[in-house]
Symmetry: C2
Subunit: 134 residues, 2 copies
Amino acid sequence: MGNEEKIATIIRDWTRAIENRDREGILAKHADDLLMIDFPNTVHGIAAYAKTWDFFDQSRRGEVVFRPSNLKVTAGDHVAFAHCDIHCEGTTAGPIDLRLTTGLVKRGGEWIVTHEHHSMPTENETLIGPDVRG
Amino acid sequence: MGNEEKIATIIRDWTRAIENRDREGILAKHADDLLMIDFPNTVHGIAAYAKTWDFFDQSRRGEVVFRPSNLKVTAGDHVAFAHCDIHCEGTTAGPIDLRLTTGLVKRGGEWIVTHEHHSMPTENETLIGPDVRG
């Protein structure tokens, strides 16, 4: 399996673990020192990262869908990044579409996630005044 | 100059070009086929990316500050990613703090940006109901 395919598998397995409320699977490929840019703020380290999934679990309302699309992986021998869109349903937030960028490094021969950037698209008004957006 | 330092310089030069309204400098190290996750939506290719800076220029109200902090670069020989926070002032949006993740590849011996993910922190309420956030 090439590096791109290995990383795509890591990301797909992670989304499936989220759907299945499988905390061990969610954390399996994440570095102790990871930096996660979450919706509301930035989170350092695996303990703080795990805590964001406590919040997520508390927001579950029935079956959760966490489905990646447009996954694109760019991998070197030891550093890689990936992007995908994710459709999420089944939480108190209702159906949402989010954007994910993941940064990975190879440590001890295994790819692990050291960076995750999750975001939601903003309203146009948030960036610049409605007067300048057509 | 090592890869990390080269990439840090690319990102700092880019922020300075934004402050100086130097479009050539803004686009100098960006790939024709880049994918940018902008606040409101996702943008493909350098022409669409340039257009987002047209919007930004129209939103300028005096001197613009676009100041990176907490810059961290993770670089291999041919693939790298970087993260920083950016404080922006001087647009119709008022002072804002945004988060940036950049993905780069080495092509023809030069590092270029193929991926940019810009986001704003959301309100807690946007992600999950206030009932579950402490």
